[in-house]
């Protein structure tokens, strides 16, 4: 063992290994990785009947709970971005910092089957299915590598599947894609999020109401003068940006929309006529200078709520089954309908489909074109 200079290699190598080994026992376990949108493995329960799973579970555990793992995840993201990659973490990085999620072919058989069945069960209720767009479909000009391979096919399936049934399809996806210039559409969507802002959402809601009016489902058109748009000078925490450890700019075009008389509306968290709750229980708000995210500035993802507007021009109850793209639109609908009931089936709540349907005049599904909405399907079922 003569060459002591070899220690220059041996000592740092084992020092790194041992330091992280020691740190792994000092660091407390984490539960969730925001960057990867998944729960992290925890120390496994010992099951001696299945020893092979114990070792693989421990492997997962030590990897997920590795000291400073979120730092390594961030470094990985930076490396990938520095290489100019376009497809990172199942997100397409387009020019000018636009981020698009990966899209998948969806199986709508179960969902649409139950919607059709419900429309037959409740013949006095009008059923509408608004196919909301995804960002990829609306902004094809930014997708130089044809990253989105599923949205058009999913849309075609949805457009055809309700033909011959008493479900009115409102194709918002094609409307939003074709009725605006690319520059206009860029103002409707958050660059670093899945979602649109209130500008895009309100355009979609206006189109839905207009289509209902054209189809004589409702008698009162939307009065745009009853809506007010507000720009917020805050930093925006996009969901997709979070997966890149916020490597992209948080300066976004943050727009909210509200009805001018929204303070007169009453908000409820149950189907019973109990005490109303404050507006901010249901709808978030933000001030200039805040760091805000999508779920914090529009309606929250609450399992059930309803909005009553006694002065509404349309004396009907609209029941909306939603996904998160609906969130900014509640005030737009509330400005037209006397009662708007919003169901988010992703959140469990002790309310049944039959209960919801008791006072419904119109049922509106507001789900994006790639969303097979298994929770909504299960709720209707």
């Amino acid at each position: 063992m003569k060459n002591k200079k070899a220690l220059l290699v041996i000592v740092p190598f084992f020092a790194i290994l041992l330091i992280f080994f020691a740190l792994s026992f000092m660091d407390s376990d984490k539960d969730y990785s925001a960057e990867e949108v998944r729960t992290l493995a925890q120390f496994p329960m010992m099951d001696l009947n299945q020893p092979q799973y114990i070792t693989s579970s421990i492997n997962d555990y030590v990897t997920d709970q590795f000291p400073y793992r979120s730092f390594f995840v961030k470094m990985y993201t930076i490396f990938e971005l520095q290489q100019g990659k376009k497809d990172i973490r199942d997100i397409y990085v387009a020019d000018d910092q636009w981020l698009f999620p990966k899209t998948y072919l969806a199986d709508f058989t179960q969902l649409t089957g139950h919607v059709i069945k419900a429309s037959l069960t409740y013949p006095d209720v009008t059923f509408c299915y608004a196919i909301l767009p995804v960002k990829n479909y609306c902004l094809p000009d930014l997708d130089n590598y044809q990253y989105d391979t599923a949205s058009a096919e999913n849309l075609a399936i949805l457009q055809n599947i309700f033909k011959g049934h008493r479900v009115q399809v409102i194709d918002v996806a094609d409307y939003m894609r074709n009725s605006f210039s690319t520059a206009e559409k860029e103002q409707q969507w958050y660059k670093t999020d899945y979602h649109w802002n209130a500008s895009g959402a309100a355009s979609a809601a206006e189109y839905i109401i207009d289509q209902m009016f054209q189809a004589k489902i409702i008698s009162a058109p939307l009065d745009q003068s009853r809506l007010q748009f507000n720009n917020i000078d805050a930093l925006y925490q996009g969901d997709l940006n979070r997966r890149f450890s916020n490597q992209f700019s948080m300066h976004e075009n943050i727009v909210t929309v509200s009805a001018i008389d929204c303070e007169n509306y009453r908000y409820y968290l149950s189907a019973d006529d109990s005490q109303p709750v404050a507006r901010n229980t249901i709808i978030g708000s933000a001030n200039d200078g805040d760091v805000v995210d999508y779920n914090g500035i529009y309606t929250y993802n609450i399992a059930y709520y309803r909005v009553v507007n006694s002065d509404a021009p349309e004396k009907k109850t609209l029941v909306i089954f939603k996904d998160s793209l609906q969130n900014p639109t509640t005030d737009v609908f509330s400005s037209v309908f006397e009662q708007v009931v919003v169901i988010d089936a992703r959140n469990k709540e002790a309310v049944t489909f039959a209960n919801v349907m008791k006072n419904a005049d119109i049922v509106l599904f507001m789900l994006h074109q790639n969303n097979p909405a298994s929770e909504t399907e299960a709720f209707i079922k």
Binding site: M1, N3, L8, L18, Q52, V62, Y76, T149
Partner: protein, 470 residues
Amino acid sequence: MVFSSIFFLYYFLPIVMLIYWAVPYRAKNYVCLIASLFFYAWGEPVLVLLMIGSIVVNYFFGLLLGHFSEKGQRKGILAVSVIFNLALLGVFKYSAFVVGSTNSLFNTTFTVPEIALPLGISFFTFQAMSYVFDVYRGNADVQRNFFKVALYIAAFPKVIQGPIVQYHTIADQIDHRTISLNKVASGIIKFAIGLGKKVLFANVIGQIADSIIVSGSTPSTTATAWLGIICYALQIYFDFSGYSDMAIGLARMMGFEFEENFRYPYISKSASEFWRRWHISMGAWFRDYLYIPLGGSRCNRLKQIRNIFIVWLATGIWHGAGWTFIIWGLYFFVLLTIERLLGERLEKIPSLLRHAVTLILVLFSWVLFRSETIIDAVNYILCMIGIKVGELTVNSSLLLHDNWLILVLGIIGSTPLIAKLARRLCDQPLMQEDGNIYWIMRMLFVCGMLCLCTIYMANSTYNPFIYFRF
């Protein structure tokens, strides 16, 4: 346990190495053996007993060979040992394939046994056979210490994925080996190179290959098919040679010296040269324990061809229980036979052309190797030659945009270019082997590689070792 995992790198390795270096010399073999059994049991907590059983039986075969001196008796013991080891492989690796194939061919309805394939069974069985062969031939003495036989067969650097170390090349090292700082540092560097090959190249390029080569589907364009198989060729090279480098490096840290297992196979100018550069330890095993005993090249032309046929049929079967592997082996039998028949006439073909043809033939061989069924392989080859395309749409332009750099580096890294550059660098006066700069450069390389690989390992769930299944 996988070398390129956080658990191995940050838990198993430092603990085992520190204990190994700390204990007195006479205890090192025991530490290594216990660590090896733990290592194997981590992946096969139950079937580790099978490996121990194999070690016990082969240990006794060795003792019996040492006890009997009469040629006939020794031959009988050897025959029984070969039957035992092949039976072990037959039951655990091939029984489902044999019964399934019998049912298909003869329309029978035998129940296909559902036997889990023990990790690395082909590797530890061949090493056990090597021990018995070497004792039989007198290439090595009988090892009367059971733990040393166990260490030879089960040593963790090579137990799961090789290299297939022949007993006579390591017998002395089990008894006497030196551990020097130079050797440990050299082992760490070798390990870091292997880790980088695996984590930074094989895993990344493997994801491209996996998205293109899909069982039951064929790519929709010829160009995509070529991209897929080139990626697979790079993946399997970096995967297996990376593992071998890590194994050699780990062994070196403990004082053992294993032979190189890969020498830039993709620069070969013939199939025979390719096999002198690819999985060298397996080629050597078949050469020493099968080809030469059959008569090797010292017999008439017909027998030579027969010998090549047997060796390559065995090589194909060794790699996997499937018709694609058998055909893959026979494909190389045909290539090597043609080369043998052409003899020196092959040398007259321009070097570049020979290289290109060899590379293309090897790429076609990987189609057979990678495909799960013969139909998949045929369809893929038809797609590669532009006769028939399939339905699998892959976003090749995006894959190339995102991965061109790693592919270019991978192609360069599969040639001796980087090694040559490194050697040239080391020839500079400042980089003399005993100089500070030389060692600082090595330290920076090792630490940089370790950190880079940790970043990728902490992120990745994609970490398969292709040769694990053999």
